[in-house]
């Protein structure tokens, strides 16, 4: 994976919030920013019933789905037990205050 796509500036994503990225082959991807400025990306689709994770509450390295409160790990995209399932995650990196996603 050496092909990185510039998404936005880090400051364009609210802390403990997210932005939605429309990516032609991937559909909607949620890009999250944690309180210590780590950035994560995954399909904006909860493994439970497809809730918009980008509108969820970010805490630590997790996001809570706004629909029924599942917790999804931001780094692995997996639902936190007792719930099962997962979202596809995408590689992201921050360089000089800019966010890139692996193509």
């Amino acid at each position: 994976m050496s092909n990185w796509k510039l998404i936005c500036k880090l400051e364009d994503i609210p802390q403990l919030g997210s932005r939605v990225v429309h990516w032609p082959e991937r559909g909607k991807v949620a890009v999250f920013r944690s309180s210590d400025d780590e950035v994560f990306a995954m399909h904006d689709k909860c493994p439970h019933k497809g809730g918009p994770l980008s509108q969820g509450i970010v805490h630590g390295k997790r996001v809570t789905c706004p629909l029924h409160g599942w917790n999804i790990g931001l780094d692995d995209g997996k639902a936190v037990a007792p719930d099962v399932g997962g979202c596809k995650t995408f590689e992201v990196k921050v360089e000089n205050g800019e966010v890139f996603m692996a193509a």
Binding site: K5, I7, C8, D12, I13, P14, G17, R19, V20, V21, H22, W23, P24, E25, K28, V31, M101
Partner: protein
């Protein structure tokens, strides 16, 4: 009225009847009095929720008799009632005084609410506060001590004067931007 005022320990929307504006019985402009009070008390937090109502005449369609501050229009001005409650245990508001102008309504009710804000315990509604301190005490502070009343009122206004509408900032371009999707070219 901002959304938080609907559930915070804060001023709630001021209820009014249609008043002299639209009602043949009306003796006072209840709606405009209500708007004035609501604007004056914008962003006011308190030990517990604070409800006000203004009725244009003693028929009292706005049910001012069960509000923390109830205002009832009469021919010669307004009657002020305090410490009413419409909750689990209904409490009839007690008569505080009669005033003649809108400005006085604001001053007297503002002073009473400021006193409550200073002395009320957390989660103590005005009816419980009133029961604890007694009506005579309130009358002493609000009716008999003119200077004290004016000072309380001035303090309330000073505390609320810089109140900002928290939802106004959410309309700024910088805030809206976070909801706009980022398009990635193929």
């Amino acid at each position: 009225m901002v959304s938080g005022h609907a559930y915070g320990k804060s001023i709630r929307t001021v209820k009014t009847c249609v008043g002299m504006e639209h009602c043949r019985f009306g003796t006072q402009l209840a709606m405009s009095m209500g708007v004035k009070l609501e604007k004056m008390l914008f962003d006011m937090y308190a030990p517990h929720k604070v409800k006000l109502a203004v009725s244009g005449c003693p028929r009292n369609c706005a049910e001012a008799g069960i509000k923390d501050v109830g205002i009832i229009g009469v021919d010669s001005g307004y009657e002020l009632y305090i410490g009413g409650n419409g909750g689990i245990k209904t409490e009839v508001a007690q008569f505080l005084c009669k005033v003649t102008s809108d400005e006085e309504v604001m001053e007297y009710s503002g002073a009473f609410l400021q006193l409550y804000r200073l002395e009320g315990w957390y989660l103590e509604r005005t009816c419980h506060y009133l029961e604890r301190v007694g009506m005579d005490y309130i009358k002493g502070k609000i009716l008999e001590d003119e200077e004290g009343r004016k000072a309380l009122y001035a303090a309330l206004l000073a505390e609320l004067k810089d109140a900002k509408d928290p939802w106004a900032t959410s309309r700024e371009p910088q805030a809206i931007k976070q909801f706009i999707p980022i398009m990635v070219e193929a």
